[in-house]
């Protein structure tokens, strides 16, 4: 990471930290901000799996459910403190992810998509009848977190928990992708055969990718549970629809980029809500769909590359100019 990039990240973090209190966001928007950062964590995890390791998953809604219910169970039934429950939710979801990674060893593309889709359906069905763990359809009410007696009651205070976690996870992700593990994942994505020949244990890295991705999502699940304060097994956030939504986030944000994951999560969380107050009922859905398509058409690789493309255009202008001079001299 070069200095320029460092600085822009730091500026971003500053903005993210200061904007909410300065703008004094109303509760509903602050809540939306919390929610979009939670989804951003999922998107980063999913991007690690899809963008870097090249493995598809339609089961991330289910991972979110695993994380959310684990955290609820740990805090409510076993009275584990929130922050420990948070980590444990990540770890346990990560283990579940490793299990789901096993089919991935043999399946690819659509076949893997179906296996993960099946996982998604299965988890919600199982959670619906596993009432001792989930409370079934009557629902369960995770509490607001507490640390040293301070209760994170407001969406703003909770926001800072999420923000710090996001930052930490972004840094960890960044470190992972630019070292051995990241390179192995990408190599496996680009050419499984060459990766094997270079000594990469593809089975190990595939399961690792699933585990890692699930870990992130489990953390997000825990945060989701305590943000919402109430959930049932058929909650939309745990559904296939949401899994597809996560997919849309990373694609319009930018496959294989961390910033893209965050951008995508924010767009996909805010856009439908911003447009939903329009007078015609299904207009918001139509607009959201249209904007998703427009983004993909104009930025097929995601918005994160928008800057790069602008730069490209600029350089092309410049390059043309330069080329012409060269040609003249040579002729």
């Amino acid at each position: 990471m070069n200095a320029k990039k460092y600085i822009s990240w730091i500026v971003l973090i500053l903005i993210a930290t200061l904007i909410p209190p300065i703008l004094n966001l109303p509760g509903s928007l602050q809540y939306l901000l919390d929610l979009s950062l939670i989804y951003a964590i999922v998107a980063i995890g999913l991007n690690l799996l899809m963008g870097y390791a090249g493995q598809i998953s339609l089961g991330h809604g289910a991972f979110l459910a695993v994380g959310a219910y684990t955290s609820a169970y740990l805090t409510l039934t076993l009275h584990v403190p929130f922050f420990i429950a948070l980590i444990l939710s990540g770890l346990i979801t990560g283990i579940v992810g490793i299990l789901l990674g096993l089919p991935a060893l043999k399946l690819e593309g659509n076949y893997l998509a179906i296996a993960t889709l099946g996982f998604g359906v299965a988890v919600t069905q199982i959670f619906a009848i596993w009432t001792s763990f989930t409370g079934g359809f009557s629902g369960i009410k995770p509490l607001k977190p507490e640390l040293f007696g301070f209760k994170f009651n407001s969406y703003l205070s909770y926001y800072y928990i999420i923000l710090i976690l996001t930052i930490v996870l972004v840094i960890l992700t960044w470190n992972i992708i630019r070292t051995k593990v990241g390179r192995s994942l990408m190599a496996m994505r680009d050419s499984e055969i060459a990766a094997k020949a270079m000594g990469i244990n593809v089975s190990y890295y595939k399961t690792l990718a699933f585990g890692l991705s699930a870990f992130y999502t489990g953390i997000a699940g825990s945060l989701y549970a305590h943000l919402l304060g109430f959930m049932t097994p058929y909650d939309y956030a745990f559904s296939i629809g949401m899994s597809l939504n996560f997919l849309a986030m990373i694609v319009i944000g930018g496959i294989g980029t961390i910033s893209g994951s965050i951008i995508g999560a924010i767009i996909m969380t805010w856009l439908p809500q911003i447009t939903s107050n329009l007078p015609i009922k299904s207009l918001s859905q139509i607009i959201t769909g249209a904007i998703i398509i427009a983004v993909v058409i104009f930025y097929p690789n995601g918005i994160a590359y928008a800057g790069a493309r602008l730069k490209d255009k600029f350089e092309k202008l410049f390059a043309k100019h330069q080329e012409k001079i060269v040609v003249k001299i040579e002729k």
């Binding site: 070292t179 680009d190 890692l212």
Partner: protein, 256 residues
């Protein structure tokens, strides 16, 4: 001293015997050529040695140890590294990153130490980067280090593959048609490079190539295959004048 022994190797696809009871051996520090008509089974031999294919029968012994049961990703740690006939680069990674992948099996960092960027990781990263740059320098493509591998012309891609195979510091390297798509002067440079690898780094080389000027110039021994079988083995002079080889492979008077 026998470095690599291929012993009675057979590989069938359906009814087709791509490799048929083939035996040959390569001495340490040797440049050994494996040639033969298209479809003779050369690449299949490579794929058996690097364990992508499970041979129908036969054994492969490297440095005295049988490697026939190893997994593909364990081969590089055994000391064997390879390139591919149809270039298999990591397309969405830069040239340098492609080379770094060759180091994966030899670095000690793990997911946790990397995630927290311990100083050991940082040191290791710096080391492997330097080593990879060294190799790019040897290949004379260090200026391409930060360009995407897929945007390189065919010939450069071939060099990058060789570079990627080299960073793992193999003791045996298998090159599958490295000169394909290169013109004469480029091929000459490649020949010098291969000699340098052997002479300066002591790497044993198993070479598949259809460019006879290259093969005949640098190989000490050559095995000629046809229909999966060995039809001739020996020094270039012998092979070149063998009627069976001429008939099946070289075809007529002039060579190259």
């Amino acid at each position: 001293m026998e470095h690599l022994i291929v012993d009675n190797l057979t590989m069938e696809f359906g009814g087709l015997k791509a490799v048929d009871s083939l035996s040959f051996s390569v001495k340490k520090g040797e440049i050994y050529g494996l040639i033969g008509p298209n479809g003779a089974g050369k690449t299949t031999v490579f794929n058996c040695v690097s364990r992508f294919y499970n041979p129908t029968s036969g054994r492969i012994i490297f440095e005295g140890k049988e490697i026939t049961k190893l997994k593909p990703h364990e081969i590089i740690r055994a000391g064997i590294s390879r390139t591919f006939q149809n270039v298999e680069l990591f397309k969405h990674m830069t040239v340098l990153e492609n080379l770094l992948v060759g180091q994966v099996a030899f670095t000690r960092e793990n997911i946790l130490s990397a995630a927290f960027m311990l100083s050991s990781v940082r040191k290791e990263e710096r080391r492997i980067r330097e080593e990879a740059m060294e190799i790019l320098k040897i290949l004379n493509i260090e200026d391409k280090a930060h360009e995407y591998a897929s945007a390189q012309p065919y010939g450069i891609q071939k060099l990058v593959e060789i570079g990627r195979a080299l960073v793992s510091q193999p003791r045996l390297i298998m090159l599958d048609e490295p000169a394909a798509g290169m013109n004469h002067s480029e091929t000459d440079e490649l020949a010098e490079l291969i000699l340098k690898l052997r002479d300066e780094l002591g790497i044993t080389i198993l070479l598949v190539e259809h460019d006879m000027s290259l093969v005949m110039n640098i190989c000490e021994n050559i095995c000629v295959m046809n229909f999966g079988k060995k039809i001739c083995e020996g020094i270039p002079e012998k092979v070149k004048s063998d009627p069976a080889v001429i008939e099946a492979y070289l075809g007529g008077e002039e060579i190259a």
